[in-house]
């Protein structure tokens, strides 16, 4: 690594094209700058830097929007005799106009001259207009590598193809589509690759940036899957022991179990949102029918289950609430299962021990209340959907209907739950829902959690 070479990138464009949004996405800094649909929200040049190898190496400059490029161009033309484009810009910057009404434009141009590469942000929903041509002409005078970035390409109104054609006709071919609303890591990669192609001396730096971003993205996916796996293990292993004969107690306890699972799901949503800190929560929440950090449809409403093609299960028996079932004794660890575990003394011992205790409990009239299998499937389906939306590739493949959770199919439908979840069923001590402070056999629980995580990752694709 040759010391501290830094790359300076200026984000420029017409007002209101999403320059600050692009910066927020690239920096994963959701609070950077100020964003609104009004023009001229950013009125200063604000800088931030991307960390590469833990050090700030790529500086990004957010500039005010170019608003009055026609006048600007006319003024620059006045300085025609001053020499080349850069000289003309300098002359303009020294003039009175640069401190008057065109102050913002002057800020942009000052920054442009001080940068290695320009990202010219375009709202792809707009047609190519005279002002765009004026802006590109002005920026062309600065003689900096310029990469047009098409924003809002995921919108139905996008005119991406027309833009590419127009830009090609004025010699701009390295056009990158980067939708700041529907984030796609591949777009981000292409953006950096375009910069890489234009700035050969910074190839290594950008390559490192690309690789670090890719690794971070994979880590993000894995953590998201682990977060949901954690929820599922907690819900699957949760059990509450009640006397079968006591209907009132059964009702109270199963309602309590329901409430615990609801709270746990909310925690999972919160964790996922925190994990994807850089994404706009509002956008995702609105599309996914999440309100105040919880899904609008109750987890234990039979209607919700039906929407995912699941039946309400065995819950209603003997006063237990929806989504809560009674664990019959044969559902426990059977001797056959112990044999498959490698019928050694240890396994046999714990089997006999467990089985014996359960038998004893059963004889005393106790049963275990548990979360229904279909509720587990529903939990998996909803949270996978959320991750999907958070990770979303910027394509129109996810229609509004799917996002509302109507057409989605729950995982493991009509099939057994994955082995890890079935294992969790036999370990009430793994659940943080029913035993929050007792020592949890951490390593064993983690093994099941990671097995489930892999399964979920496959479903995320």
């Amino acid at each position: 690594m040759n010391g501290e070479t830094k790359l300076r990138v200026a984000i420029v464009g017409h007002t209101n094209t999403g320059k600050t949004s692009l910066l927020r996405t690239l920096t994963r800094d959701v609070a950077f700058g100020e964003i609104s649909a009004r023009p001229g929200t950013t009125r200063h040049v604000e800088a931030t830097s991307l960390m590469v190898g833990g050090r700030p190496r790529v500086e990004l400059y957010d500039t005010p929007g170019l608003e009055d490029s026609a006048t600007l161009l006319a003024l620059l033309e006045e300085h025609r005799e001053r020499g080349d484009g850069i000289d003309r810009i300098r002359a303009f910057l020294d003039s009175a106009a640069a401190r008057g009404e065109l102050e913002q434009e002057a800020k942009v141009l000052r920054q442009v001259l001080d940068s290695d590469v320009l990202l010219y942000v375009i709202d792809a929903r707009e047609p190519m207009l005279g002002r765009h041509r004026d802006e590109l002409t002005v920026l062309g005078l600065a003689a900096r590598p310029l990469i047009p970035v098409l924003n809002f390409t995921g919108s139905g109104e996008s005119r991406e193809a027309a833009w590419r054609e127009h830009l090609a006709r004025i010699g701009l071919h390295a056009v990158v589509a980067f939708d700041t609303v529907l984030f796609d890591p591949a777009d981000e990669r292409r953006l950096y690759e375009a910069v890489q192609a234009m700035l050969a001396p910074q190839y290594e730096l950008l390559q490192q940036l690309i690789e670090e971003r890719e690794a971070a993205w994979q880590a993000l996916k894995r953590s998201a899957a682990a977060t949901v796996a954690d929820l599922l293990v907690d819900a699957a292993s949760a059990a509450r022991r009640v006397r079968e004969a006591n209907a009132a107690e059964m009702k109270a306890q199963s309602a309590l179990l329901q409430e615990r699972v609801r709270e746990r799901e909310q925690r999972c949503i919160r964790q996922l949102m925190e994990l994807f800190a850089f994404r706009s929560e509002d956008v995702v929440a609105e599309r996914l029918a999440i309100e105040d950090g919880r899904w609008r449809m109750d987890l234990f409403a039979p209607e919700t289950l039906r929407r995912f093609g699941l039946s309400a299960g065995t819950g209603a028996v003997k006063g237990a609430a929806v989504g809560v079932g009674i664990d019959v004794i044969t559902g426990g660890l059977s001797l056959g299962m112990a044999a498959t575990l490698g019928a050694t003394i240890g396994a046999l011992w714990s089997t006999v021990d467990r089985f014996g205790r359960r038998l004893l409990d059963r004889l005393r009239g106790y049963v275990d209340l548990r979360v229904d299998e279909n509720t587990l499937r529903l939990l998996a389906a909803r949270e996978l959907q959320l991750i999907d939306a958070l990770l979303r590739r910027g394509h129109a493949s996810l229609s509004q209907v799917e996002l509302k959770g109507d057409a989605a199919r729950a995982p493991w439908q009509g099939a057994d739950l994955p082995a890890a979840l079935r294992r969790a069923r036999h370990h009430p001590e793994w659940s943080t829902l029913t035993a929050p402070v007792a020592p949890v056999p951490e390593a064993e629980r983690a093994a099941a959690l990671h097995a489930l995580q892999e399964e979920l990752l496959q479903r995320l694709g």
Partner: protein
Amino acid sequence: MADASAQRVTTPFQRRLLAEAWRRIEESGGSQADVTHAELAAVAQGGTFETRVLNRAVTLAQGADLPRALDALQQAMRRAAWALVLLGALVGAAAARSTLNPDHAGLVNFYWVLVALLGVHTLALLLWLVSLPFFLSGGHLPPTPLRAPFEALARTLASTVAGNAQRTAQSAWMSVLGSGALGRWGLSALLHAFWLAALGGMLAVTLLMLSARQFDFVWETTILPDEAFITLTERLQELPARLGLGSLDRETIQASRRAADRPPPPGARRGWSALLVGSLVAYGMLPRAALLGISLLMLRHSRGRYRLDLELPGYARLRPRLMPASRRIGIVDADTGTLGAKPGESRAARLPIARETAVLGIEIDPPATGWPPALAAGARDLGIAADRADLDSALQRLKALQDHPLSLLVVCSLTASPDRGMARVLRDCRAAHHGPIALLLTQRARMALRLDEKGCREREEDWRRIAAAAGFDAEHILLLDLDDAEELRRFLLARDEGQDAGGRE
């Protein structure tokens, strides 16, 4: 205080335990600590994600005095282990005492004594070895009976500490120390230490008894051939002989067979005693000591290999904060505030299009209902200006029409940004035309697709503001979506009936 606790956290393993405890505390919502300072410090110190998580957690844990709790726990576990060792020694001593009962001194069956002293130990050892494959594969050991004392210890400890955080922390530590490889080898070390102590106790009492009492060791059999015992004894003493404890020759062994007519030779006593002691050491203490050593080594190894599970939500959520993708530099070219302007308030409109009208579109797509809009019978079409040149030529044509009494209708899209460039266009239109002028803002539906309710409201306000600044009358600004045929039809109907033709539905 802080320095003292900082000193206590020395090993990476302890740091990880603190981090794990802190994760549990945070997940159970038990921490109101201000994390900002610790996180900034962790980011400043740099390093891998795990390093940062550890630095953050150790700082926070020290604030909550957790290192002391960890210290207390480790001491308690050490005390419990020593108590177990002491118990083992006592049990062993008692077993030896009851086996080599001084009341029955005299003729003693050597093999009877040997089985009484080493039998249970050997059986337990075999059991342990048989379950070893399962044990190593990470099966669900320890079984409940062995977990029970562990959990009891956890409960006892939990009841001794004050504060929820400490309780949660201890439970977290018990979880880590009592499960996985750490739990397996820790338990295994305890088990072997117990047996080693028991055998040690046995050895001590045996030596004491052998010193102070006289035992005539004999062997006897009813149905087995004598030769079997002689060979067995010879084999048995091979290992102790290497330790210098076993020097019985064939004759002495033969002579020690129990017989009614003669006592065993007096010279055999030392030999048999040496074999007994040698067997205790070679078959009891040595294997147990070796296994204890291995277990302790493996425990140490497991501690070294113990890593935080950074994919768990409790840690993963910290990644954006501890491994920031960017660092802000700040404002480098500040706003001087010369362009500040506040949006004004105005209401909808009546168009001055009773007379002949010229229509000019600015940077819009041709509306779905056609261009020019069917608002006035004899509308003059000035076209849609896409750039400065278009606008200039349109305004030139407007000038040429100036002798007619004419009103100008400028059509703009709400999807466009009402910026200074647009304000200039409106100003230029106003300047170029001396008759009545009106602004029609179309594509409200499209705007609504892009902006939320607040955004739409602001956008409309901003348009009214720049139009007003350009010299448009507030009541001559009309919102009418030309893409919507139904809206246009209703507008025309309302106007023809001479009613109020406010554009807002």
